[in-house]
């Protein structure tokens, strides 16, 4: 099955990492571990990955990075005193990347 998205790891350096023209052309989604999702088979997505020197990951590789980050956050949450496990501080939820 043709994939819809591609993933890369790139550190957000702030202003100019994603500019408005890029944001207008394609849809970005940022995930824990500096994982970024952009459309697959899309020249604007490819150009952006090249611009930010992103390390391209397969979906499974990206999922593993995100899982590690979320599991660390979940472990930290589990270790909190019970009075800090409030409705305003929910346990981090698992994240499933899309194909």
């Amino acid at each position: 099955m043709a994939k819809t998205y591609q993933y890369c790891v790139a550190e957000n350096w702030g202003k100019g990492f994603i500019d408005h023209d890029e944001s207008w052309r394609i849809t970005f989604k940022g995930y824990p571990g500096n994982v970024w999702q952009v459309p697959a088979y899309n020249k604007h997505g490819n150009l952006w990955i090249a611009k930010v020197a992103g390390a391209v990951k397969t979906k499974d590789e990206a999922q593993a990075i995100v899982d590690a980050e979320v599991q660390a956050a979940q472990a930290a949450w589990d270790a909190l005193p019970e009075d800090q496990k409030t409705d305003t501080n929910p346990r981090p939820a698992d994240i499933t990347l899309e194909e």
């Binding site: 408005h20 995930y31 824990p32």
Partner: protein, 613 residues
Amino acid sequence: MSTYKEIRGLKVRDYTTNPDNPIEGQLWYNETDNVTKYQIPNLLGTWATGGSLNQSRTAMGAAGTQTAGIVAAGHISPANTNKVELYDGSSWTETTDVNTTRRELGGSGTTNTEVLVFGGDTSTGSTGQTAVTESWNGSSWTEVGDLNTGRQGPGDTNSAPYTATLAFGGGVSSPQGNPTGKTESWNGSSWTEVADLNLAKRFSGSAGALQTAAIIAGGNGGSPIDTIQNDAETWNGSSWTEISNLNTARTQTTGYGTSTEAIITGGWPTPASAGLKTERWNGSAWSEENNMLDNAYGRASGGSYTAGLSSGGIVGGSSVTTTSEWTVTTNQGAWASGGDLNTARSLLGSAGLQTASLAFGGGVPSGTAVTESYNGSSWTETADLNTGRLSAHSFGAVYTAALLSGGTPGPRPAMTVATETWNGSSWTEVGDMNVSRIYGSSSKYGTTTAGLAFGGETAPGSAQATNESWNGSAWTEVGDLNTARSSCLGGAGISTSALAFGGGSVANTESWNGSAWTEVSDLNTARNYMGGAGVSNTAAMASGGTPPITGKTETWNGTSWLENGDLSTVRNELAAAGNTTDGIAFGGAVPSKSAATEEWSSTSSSTKTISTD
């Protein structure tokens, strides 16, 4: 923006031309071009990354603008913080701490040097609801009058002045953490209770630039208690009124803007992608806009609907340093090719609209008297000018009534003050200008009985601020431009409401109110020898120009210039006419003389071709 659109229907229809008024989501096959096309709404706003916070944090108070923002206090894992950071449009700088360490507080201020923060939770478990209010003067924090009701996660008019703001909703200490509907008004020294929300809620998104006009949306409230809400209300200065619900229920969300132009973005539950959703309130309905860059809750925001700032929050269980900047581009439009001029030329005069326009004079390279009229698809030669010339002042809202004045038959130093008017079939000489010049501009939407000619030069290097007003029979000198300039600055508008922009290698824009020029926001790209068009000092466009030679197009909305689709034929010394929704550009230099015509359209939706490009 919805992610998916369902396509329903039994028949596939062939089109040899595109349908006249396709609706959003419509898909069709054009058998002439052998392509499949579809209709999309023009995208209004986008998120881009801004400078990162110095510390990963969430649940801050926030205020200010996209270029002068502030976040105060909040939570930096594993504890609450009193740290404060200031944003200058590109980076955050740490500054003086607030006195009371807390999270989930409210904030208000039109800039980052005059700010009020209030309320919050001094604990990490919703047991420390506080009423403490602090005021920031740009260098230090001072404790001022407490809220009557301590609360965490209040709504706030975060763009309102720090001396006149509003706190509403939030979670209170008794019963512990329960939402309240209480609203309090701040007069610069004390809080006064006013009318309650219809639905008590906490951790809502909110916005407002005035103490008397606010909006709140989402949050926790209702029954069972703390249900995640899509409820929304607006405040008119005396009471709250229920309005349409958000499309996506969410809590720990954030907002900014005004009660009639607001953005709500981010929030929980993130598994349902609430953190990505951005919704706009336009005063009557919510619409989904482009998604946020990451799926976060607990952000802090400030700014206006057209220029917002949202920072921090929690992604995947961890707080982040991310800052996102929201910028709206309206009048998103594009150029399409039209029929070529019969005579390629530059520095020509123009009048009319996209489908009925007039081109006259210009350099081929010496001044020509040729006049051509456009019918929306092709140009036809008509009666010549009496005096052939280039780089004259010209205007005309319709192609049957135009004016041309000044310019040079070329080459210089010969210049003329002659003025001619067009009645739809011939040119007639009328009253001369007072000051002969070239490379100036005009109120392009003027008439043969009222218009302006401004700027230009009387000799090489002698840029003029001169502004002359035409009353149908004679020219009179009126208020000068603030910045003298030449090099074919851009012009738009009419005799009582005009705009002058660029020229002389500057980006300066000046707005004319009928008696004087006032400096307003600059073009994004400084340029000379451009095409200018537009109907008033609140609706104009600039296209093409140099240096370097460009196709860049910007539209003016009365406040700022917005970058739009570029000309296909990059050029300078071109002519433009029409308005910001239906414009036209023709002629120019690429650098050889050009006959190219392009038609500008800016509508609420655009046709796209399905492509793997």
